[in-house]
């Protein structure tokens, strides 16, 4: 009977631990991943570990990460037991996310999803998440949040929080007829509104990352 099971999910590959010993499971995992054909099948996969209620020590997680790395796979999340999750989070905090280790910024994940068009005002407490570009024909009010892997374009007033390029795309931009966000995030950069009350500027503005920080300029100047 197999003590480790694999399942493909939307987020990536899910590996579920069975009830065998850790050593037995690791050797089975090694065997599974080393099978002919498995190499190309699993390459580049993002892995979610489901521990099925058992705890997993930091050293064991490290061992798993190393094993997965041999097959170009990344452990992105641990679920199923609070201590194991905590251990993983602790481990992840000490190593930068894999995409930051590379010299060149990685090719941004190709955004093949359709833009999401929202024809209303997004109000406080409402959150919009989308894998592509988000276009809002209305306002984004304070207390509202839009998180997009692509650009965010607001044909209206942006006063809430926007995260463009949320999956790491540094080329993502945020544009609005009135750009007065509470906070603006592009990829892993964060900017917030100046504390002094900003005078309404016109015309429309666009925010993008330049030289490692978020800059805001009138739309259409570059």
């Amino acid at each position: 009977m197999s003590s480790v099971s694999f399942k493909g999910t939307r987020e990536g590959l899910s590996i579920t631990l069975g009830d065998g010993g850790w050593r037995a499971m690791m050797s089975e995992l090694t065997a599974q991943l080393g099978r002919p054909g498995a190499q190309s099948f699993f390459r580049g996969a993002r892995v979610l570990l489901e521990t099925s209620g058992r705890t997993v020590a930091v050293t064991q997680i490290e061992e798993l990460i190393a094993l997965l790395a041999q097959h170009d796979m990344t452990l992105v999340s641990v679920m199923g037991e609070p201590h194991a999750q905590a251990n993983f989070n602790q481990l992840r905090a000490t190593i930068p996310p894999p995409e930051l280790l590379e010299e060149e910024p990685p090719a941004p994940r190709v955004d093949d999803s359709q833009p999401l068009v929202i024809r209303r005002t997004i109000r406080s407490g409402q959150v919009v998440r989308h894998a592509g570009t988000v276009i809002v024909l209305g306002d984004i009010n304070p207390g509202a949040e839009v998180i997009a892997n692509g650009d965010v374009i607001v044909w209206g007033k942006l006063r809430g929080v926007v995260h463009a390029g949320a999956a790491g795309d540094l080329r993502a931009t945020v544009g609005a007829l009135l750009l007065m966000p509470t906070q603006l995030r592009i990829a892993d950069h964060i900017a917030r509104a100046p504390d002094d009350k900003r005078v309404l500027r016109w015309p429309a503005e666009i925010a993008r990352v330049r030289d490692g920080r978020i800059i805001v300029e009138p739309w259409g100047t570059s």
Binding site: R123, S124, G125, D139, N141, P142
Partner: protein, 265 residues
């Protein structure tokens, strides 16, 4: 024609939901409409106090819903206006005593008896808010010209819109024209710019509200107070009449001018 269910809500507490409900009830009843004010704030009932009917309560909303009393037994007739009624909240229970479906069913019965059913929603966005909005045909959001109140109103409007209700209408309460003029308070345009819903009334800050609330004598019973007059205009708008919006004068009254005169001497 079956009656309309109007829910008065705000998100934030203390902005004047109960006062608004009581006064709109009075104002509509004064225009000859059959009105019931329903206190949905189970466990923290206030509407009866503001309407001055506390000592007449025998049965309450939860008694009716649980079948311990008939609707007719629980409804309290106002002592001044024969068209006005109150369905009080239970004080010894909490918000879990009522479900959305029960409120919807109760309102089906009330629609046959009344032209307007005004539901005074509890503060917050939890169960009490939800069962208050569930039966509503229209939702009135009360906001004071403060950033925190506007923020909560925005949240509530979003929640109402997500339940496929028509967009709520806005009552701006406790506006102080003098402070707006000095730039110390959000003005009507500031509030509307964020919330972007239809305005149905502006009620100026009025000290007589405090005394009238304490006495259980809603200001809309009289025409003298500025807030009372504002509630009467909102009632007319609710009945479909076109009433122009009042521009509130912040010119000092005679007494204030005299006082300034003395001070300057």
């Amino acid at each position: 024609m079956p009656g309309q269910v109007l829910t008065i809500t705000s998100g934030k507490g203390g902005v004047g939901k109960t006062t608004t409900t009581a006064n709109l009830g009075v104002a509509l009843a004064r225009r000859g409409k059959r009105v019931v004010c329903l206190d949905a704030d189970i466990g923290l009932r206030n509407l009866d106090v503001v309407m001055g009917l506390e000592n007449r309560i025998v049965f309450d909303l939860v008694d009716v819903i649980e079948g311990h009393a008939k609707l007719r037994q629980a409804l309290i007739k106002d002592k001044r206006l024969p068209e006005l009624h109150l369905l009080p909240a239970a004080q010894k229970r909490d918000k879990t005593a009522v479900t959305n479906e029960q409120m919807i069913k109760l309102c089906v019965d009330l629609r046959n008896e009344f032209d307007f059913i005004l539901i005074d929603s509890p503060a917050g966005i939890e169960g009490g808010f939800k069962y208050s909005v569930a039966p509503a045909d229209r939702v009135l959001v009360v906001v004071t010209p403060e950033v925190s109140s506007v923020r909560d109103a925005d949240r509530v409007i979003g929640l109402v819109e997500s339940q496929e209700k028509p967009s709520p209408q806005l009552i701006i309460n406790r506006l102080r024209p003098a402070m707006v003029k000095r730039g110390e308070m959000l003005d009507t345009a500031d509030v509307l710019e964020i919330l972007a819903i239809e305005l149905i009334g502006i009620v100026p800050e009025d000290e007589t509200i405090i005394t009238s609330t304490n006495k259980g004598q809603p200001v809309a019973l009289e025409d003298r107070s500025s807030a009372g007059a504002a509630f009467l205009r909102i009632a007319q708008r609710l009945m479909g009449e076109q009433v122009p919006f009042q521009v509130f004068h912040d010119s000092p009254g005679l007494l204030e001018r005299l006082a300034r005169f003395w001070k300057s001497q």
